[in-house]
């Protein structure tokens, strides 16, 4: 039976060679050659030029801040949801991840509408004679957009790992004299760490590589590394440089994955 089954992997094997491995090899090929096809490291080294480095640094900064904010917002929420009595069959959780099913662009578009100079929030503020809020087209708007778009990806894994914690373990800690803080830091937090870690990867990577959020909420004034790559392909037409920067981006993704696997050595986290 096993022998029979092995052959069944063939279609997927061929598929992944054709549409995953070969395309990635092409990115590497373009990234490591120049326009004439000769080998060069120029496109990789290009990251050290000021404008690319700035874009990468800003991306790292904004995505790190967003990820941290997501954890800070999501963890208490997941804990509350986990204990809530009204949360039958995870219905309440569903409410909090429902916005995820809204089209990603529409969600971001909604914030544009809210934040604009004459947008909804400012109309309300001016009706109340309050000072206006001018964060559209600034890095703050981009952070907001990232947190908003990716928060559900943080809530869900944390909630899952929290809900897996055996109540008896918590009770046992209490019986043995641990106070609330101790129970949290010694029992709940370590046990829910895999969820946090998997949440971090799910938020950090898309935030690091986005070009849509910065485009829609940044007024094209803020260049993230994703924007640079996108523009190299769609506007400046320098695929070699775009691929080279993609390789850099992949290195950062791999680093973040490795860090999370090391931290998550119990292997209990979701298989991301």
């Amino acid at each position: 039976m096993n022998k029979n089954k092995k052959w069944m992997a063939t279609p997927y094997f061929i598929w992944s060679i054709a549409f995953i491995i070969i395309p990635l090899c092409m990115v590497f090929y373009y990234g490591l050659t120049d326009k004439t096809g000769a080998f060069t490291l120029e496109n990789i080294i290009a990251i050290t030029t000021e404008e690319h480095w700035k874009a990468l640094w800003l991306s790292l900064l904004l995505s790190t801040i967003s990820t941290l904010l997501c954890i800070l917002l999501a963890y208490p929420l997941a804990m509350i949801l986990c204990n809530a009595s009204i949360n039958q069959d995870g219905f309440l959780v569903l409410i909090f991840i429902l916005p995820m099913w809204m089209n990603f662009l529409l969600r971001t578009l909604a914030w544009q509408t809210l934040l604009e100079k004459t947008g909804v929030i400012n109309s309300i503020l001016s009706a109340l004679h309050l000072p206006s809020l001018n964060i559209i087209n600034t890095p703050y708007a981009i952070i907001l957009g990232m947190v908003y778009n990716f928060l559900p990806f943080m809530v869900l894994p944390i909630y899952n790992s929290l809900s897996k914690i055996d109540r008896n373990v918590v009770n046992a800690a209490r019986d043995l004299g641990a106070n609330n803080v101790q129970t949290f830091t010694k029992v709940i937090l370590p046990l829910s760490l895999p969820g946090v870690i998997s949440g971090i990867t799910m938020v950090f990577v898309p935030a690091l590589t986005t070009f849509v959020i910065s485009n829609l909420l940044g007024g094209s004034k803020i260049l993230l590394i994703g924007n640079v790559i996108e523009q190299e392909f769609t506007q400046t037409n320098n695929w070699n440089l775009g691929s080279g920067l993609s390789i850099i981006l992949m290195i950062f993704i791999i680093i973040s994955i490795v860090i999370s696997t090391i931290t998550d050595k119990d292997g209990e986290g979701n298989s991301l």
């Binding site: 029979n4 052959w7 069944m8 063939t10 279609p11 000021e50 404008e51 690319h52 700035k54 874009a55 604009e116 100079k117 004459t118 001018n134 087209n137 007024g219 094209s220 004034k221 260049l223 640079v228 523009q231 392909f233 769609t234 506007q235 400046t236 037409n237 320098n238």
Partner: protein, 352 residues
């Protein structure tokens, strides 16, 4: 093993039937794939063309010349008709991406004023590849309620008091044009010092800019989101119609006079349909319809004569007398190295 075969079969059947579907949609007279600027045609005109000719129009839009070019060069999309601007047409001719238009198939070309073909010679030396569709200038659109002083120079875009109230064009050549003209240089310069100065000016301006936009400038100005915006003259009439507080000026330092023309790429698979489409666009009633919808200046003299509203017919915005202005230029393709330099400097502005 059996299941594998069934699966493979299913996949092949469904994929092939899908591809079949794609083809069977094509009507008797084939199709024409049009690649045009956003909001640059009256949608009714497309329907009318389809009804009259039986040719299906597949319509696609681009935001800037720079976004359009890689798609054509990659050759992965078989567009039949494209509407790039002057310098981009020159670049496409230089890189052998365009095919010569058979003017015998486009009798309506007689409607296009001769001076526009003369002007086109700057980028299409023998008038073999392009037929003008729209033309205009680039200027400043300002909101009279927010800007009280007279606007006559690009320098107002560097005025601190309009911080966060300025909209700049998000395309490399247009943005640099403003900065180069401000400093009194040619907008076709390849002199690194002049470009560097322009870059510094743009960086200096960046904190004052609310956003870099392309088509959005129109809605933002109508919605009173900003006080000043760099805009194509064609949008001026439309925006004034929607918001009477808006005023368009051509700055005294001079500006860009551009022509957007129809061209047929080498890869076109439906060249005759493409020519039929261009011919249709040159028909006076169609050109008029388009003019009334998009309000971009038409080079179609016959259509110009048909405009009923005298104010618009003689509008100095839509149909300016170019000899009244100084410092007018048309973009030229400056070669690969210059392109790279512009892009590099623009990226430095954007990442600041």
């Amino acid at each position: 093993m059996k299941k594998l075969m069934i699966t493979a079969l299913l996949v092949t059947i469904s994929i092939s039937s899908l591809m079949g579907c794609g083809k069977s949609n094509t009507p008797e007279n084939g199709q024409v794939i049009v690649y045009n600027w956003g909001e640059y045609i009256d949608p009714d005109v497309i329907t009318q063309f389809e009804e009259e000719t039986g040719i299906k129009v597949v319509y696609d839009e681009f935001e800037t010349n720079e976004i359009m070019y890689p798609k054509i060069e990659a050759g992965a999309s078989d567009y039949d008709v494209i509407c790039p601007s002057d310098y981009m047409i020159q670049k496409m001719i230089d890189n052998d991406l365009l095919s010569e238009i058979n003017f015998d198939n486009i009798p309506n070309v007689k409607n296009i004023g001769d001076q526009y073909f003369q002007q086109s010679k700057e980028f299409d030396a023998e008038n073999k590849y392009s037929i003008p569709y729209c033309w205009g200038t680039v200027g400043i659109l300002y909101n009279k309620t927010m800007v009280t002083e007279p606007v006559d120079s690009w320098s107002i875009l560097w005025d601190e008091q309009y911080k966060d109230n300025i909209l700049m064009q998000d395309s490399v050549r247009d943005a640099f044009m403003v900065a180069l003209k401000l400093n009194g240089y040619s907008m076709n310069t390849t002199n690194p010092h002049e470009l560097q100065a322009a870059k510094d000016a743009l960086i200096k301006q960046k904190p004052l800019v609310q956003a870099y936009v392309v088509d959005q400038v129109r809605d933002k100005m109508i919605g009173n989101e900003a006080a000043l915006g760099v805009i194509y003259s064609g949008e001026a009439i439309y925006t004034q119609r929607e918001n009477s507080n808006l005023e368009y000026v051509i700055p005294k330092e001079g500006t860009n006079v551009w022509i957007d023309s129809w061209v047929i790429p080498k890869d076109s698979k439906n060249k005759e349909n493409a020519e039929a489409f261009i011919n249709f666009m040159c028909r006076e009633d169609i050109a008029l319809k388009n003019f009334e919808y998009i309000t971009y200046s038409t080079p179609n003299d016959a259509a110009h004569d048909l405009i009923e509203d005298e104010d618009i017919k003689n509008s100095p915005i839509a149909f300016p007398t170019l000899s009244d202005f100084e410092g007018l230029e048309t973009f030229q393709y400056l070669g690969e190295d210059a392109d790279e330099m512009y892009n590099q400097l623009w990226k430095e502005v954007k990442s600041e």
